[in-house]
């Protein structure tokens, strides 16, 4: 039977893999959609056609988030998962901070609340993993002194 520490470690690794999978899938889909918008000038990302500098930034940001997803998956294979939860939190803290800083500019696209909801929920997910990864291991049973 698994002890509390083993269970929490397993959940912590699952959290990292879930976050990683979501990040990789979402950012690859967004890279494709934004590329199509930039090239054709139509669709959700159609505005990028007239904003090439904005598109270059998005292209880099999405692919760096994909790389971050790969990093989180790598982190889930390591013994200590705690630093990786922190990285997962910081990874969303950066775009969340940008969201607030550039609030007026992105308000016109109506994506402020969606962005905040996504980043905050992922930070909450990683916070739960972080708390679980801090549970201490069960103490080793005390050795019985040998008479030999």
């Amino acid at each position: 039977m698994l002890d509390l520490h083993e269970k929490s470690t397993r959940i912590s690794k699952t959290v990292l893999r879930l976050h990683s999978s979501l990040l990789i899938a979402a950012t690859l889909a967004l890279t494709t959609a934004s590329g199509l918008g930039y090239l054709s000038g139509s669709g959700q990302f159609g505005m990028l056609h007239s904003e090439p500098i904005g598109y270059i930034g998005l292209f880099q940001a999405y692919l760096l988030m994909t790389t971050m997803g790969v990093a989180l998956w790598l982190g889930s294979t390591m013994v200590k998962t705690r630093p990786w939860h922190l990285i997962g939190i910081l990874g969303h803290a950066a775009p969340l901070a940008a969201n607030f800083l550039f609030w007026r500019e992105i308000e016109r696209y109506g994506i402020t609340h969606a962005g905040i909801a996504i980043h905050v929920s992922m930070i909450a997910l990683e916070l739960s993993g972080l708390l679980l990864s801090r549970l201490p291991a069960a103490p080793e049973p005390a050795a019985v002194p040998s008479r030999a």
């Binding site: 270059i56 292209f59 790389t67 790969v70 775009p95």
Partner: protein, 140 residues
């Protein structure tokens, strides 16, 4: 060179350049000052460039953490991926990004740095070289 040192140099490069570029994006956008002001001043999508540079700086901290690990091979692969993305997008959008700012020479230097890191990190990740502990007597 010790592969841990290579990761640290790479991490410092990302943190320094990413952080400085993110600051330049914000200053250029809000105050119309600095090297990026010509394209960033009140640009509606300046947020994307700001985010990308901030993420690059953050990934620098990941590599710094990785430099302390005994098994660093995965971090060398990660570093390679980061520089393929950054250097590749510089090449792909060279004229739109650096041409618009009249910073072509800077663009050439920074793109060369990215590909130099791609090369050195790929070599460090190769199992034959033992990414866990490639040390020279001089490194100590």
């Amino acid at each position: 060179m010790n592969t841990s040192r290579l990761l640290r140099i790479n991490a410092a490069f990302l943190m320094l350049m990413g952080g400085a570029a993110a600051a330049a994006d914000a200053i250029g956008h809000f105050f119309g000052k600095g090297p990026l002001a010509p394209v960033m001043f009140r640009a509606p999508l300046a947020i994307s460039s700001f985010e990308a540079h901030l993420l690059a700086a953050l990934l620098g901290t990941v590599l710094w953490t990785g430099a302390r690990q005994p098994d660093r091979r995965q971090f060398h692969i990660l570093a390679t991926a980061i520089h393929v993305v950054l250097g590749g997008s510089n090449l792909l959008f060279f004229d739109r990004a650096f041409g618009a700012l009249d910073m072509r020479l800077f663009g050439v230097v920074i793109t060369a740095c990215h590909f130099a890191f791609v090369l050195s990190q790929t070599v460090a990740a190769m199992p034959r070289l033992g990414a866990t502990a490639v040390t020279t007597p001089l490194a100590h």
